[in-house]
Symmetry: C2
Subunit: 314 residues, 2 copies
């Protein structure tokens, strides 16, 4: 163990857009911006410790058992039979908590990727997923995989089934650029889930599964027009959009600027648009942020390619 002492690594893990309009609870993709960073160091002192958390405005717990990053690392170390490892974590939150951007997923994935890198990739990358999902359970009260899976694996990821867990990395066409806008509103994921109807009409469900099938086909065919036509949600968006002021105006402004599609990122309040180039994505971001300002709502805006690689060592 002594040989590893003081080895350290810095890891970036990406924000993610869950649901992707027509894929409620089963689809997500990763971006390059924003994302969280973790510096992790192996120490001689047994146990996982959080040295510091920067950028969270004091919101996240420092208790290793309660913080999702350290808790996931503890689970991982137990699973590989090294519960006594000494680990020191510094977390740099570079995105807001509770934003719909997969904030907790990014941190947790960065931590797991870091420990697995330090321990010479003891587990294959996809085997880290259950630990990341347990982290989500701790953070959100729901062990959903639609943020952690794309954060960990990169690109567009389908969670075909939760029980048994079946995660499929879809083809991610090159050149897709995502605009993400986080309006400074409070929308708790738990509330956002609560307002969704638990019964849906078969007619709407048929439309939705036609669209997700169209989207998946569009990704494999790299067919932007088909991707665009498929980015429609007749079930969740009509309800959740009520939590975002002027949602349909924001959507229209994004589409006017050339978005392939526009929707709520995860459970919001962040919104996203997909487009085929950087300039279009920047125009979309600007138009949406400008309209939010007219409503007196400040926001953060990000533009980046869809991230097909996932976490990376910095």
């Amino acid at each position: 163990m002594g040989d590893d002492c003081c080895k350290s690594v810095k890891v970036f893990a990406p924000a993610t857009v869950a649901n992707v309009v027509c894929g409620f609870d089963v689809l997500g993709f990763a971006v390059y911006a924003p994302g969280d960073e973790v510096i992790m160091r192996l120490t001689d002192e047994a146990g996982v410790k959080i040295k510091a958390i920067h950028g969270d405005e004091g919101k996240l717990p420092l208790d290793p058992a309660k913080n999702t990053v350290s808790a996931a690392v503890i689970d991982y170390l137990q699973a590989i039979g090294e519960p006594e490892r000494g680990v020191e974590i510094t977390l740099f939150k570079k995105m807001p908590v509770g934003s719909g951007l997969g904030s907790s997923a990014a941190s947790t994935v960065a931590g797991l990727f870091a420990i697995n890198t330090l321990l010479e990739e003891r587990l294959p990358r996809e085997a880290l997923l259950p630990f990341a999902m347990a982290g989500e359970q701790l953070a959100c009260g729901q062990g959903h995989a639609d943020n952690v899976a794309p954060a960990l694996m990169g690109g567009f990821v389908l969670i075909r089934s939760y029980d048994p867990l079946d995660v499929i990395r879809l083809h991610t066409p090159p050149g897709l650029v995502c605009a993400l806008i986080h309006p400074h509103l409070e929308v708790a994921t738990r509330d956002a889930r609560r307002i969704i109807r638990q019964q849906v009409s078969l007619k709407d469900a048929v439309q939705q599964w036609g669209n997700i099938a169209g989207l998946v086909s569009g990704l494999y065919r790299e067919d932007h027009a088909l991707i665009s036509r498929s980015l429609q949600d007749v079930i969740i968006e009509p309800v959740r959009s009520m939590l975002i002021p002027d949602f349909y105006t924001l959507k229209q402004k994004a589409l006017d600027q050339g978005a392939l599609g526009f929707g709520i990122s995860g459970s919001g309040p962040a919104v996203f648009a997909l487009s085929t180039d950087q300039d279009t994505a920047c125009s979309i971001r600007d138009a949406v942020q400008e309209h939010l300002r007219t409503l007196g709502i400040e926001s953060d805006g990000y533009v980046s390619q869809v991230n097909a690689e996932g976490p990376r060592i910095m």
Copy 2:
């Protein structure tokens, strides 16, 4: 017009499996067996006539306005501005009516493909679809496209949206073999639709759209294991299976023989299984037919590759 007189063509159009387990109302694929045949001849005498129908046991109307084949041809001729064309149709029904095999779709598509061939492909193939759908409306009281679209275009076809109509030819992996078994039971499509619940739980809907997304991904990746895992239906099959005696035993027997998946073809009573080779498909067909015989139910069995080409001139 005289130059064309007496030109004739014989066309085969395939049976189709609609729904494909997890794609209710939006997915279908074509096979090579069974299928219907049409002989069509241009005549000097104005108007569309049915010369004869073979193999229907007198069930289908000979009145050109009521028969789906002739009615679709009449629509087509009107749309291209040649309502006075003389056409004589002979229809060979080579599969049972009301079986869940897309019987009316096969006949209608054969007729439309024949007239369009005789008139030198006046319309591109996909432009024939609306005429075929109108034929389905006449035959089934529903203008569904999940039989006519694959019968016309071949392979696996997605109807992403009905309004506006958006039909996507998915990738069809080579080597998929379909076993089709038609038990001699009466299940009217209208009844089979009536028993389906019009409200579904969001939880079931999420499972279903995870599965259809998995199936589409599996087709593009040519991933048999993923196709197999995705061929699950938590919404329609639990209800419609009640119309087919011992459905779940038949399913288990098919899976035991190595089927990738097993389900109801369209609205039944035909059932189908997908597999990766001819021998497996034959074993599945035999096992299912044998069990049906123990219940005192006779059946027709067919085995063929998935048909990626659609109708063809014989």
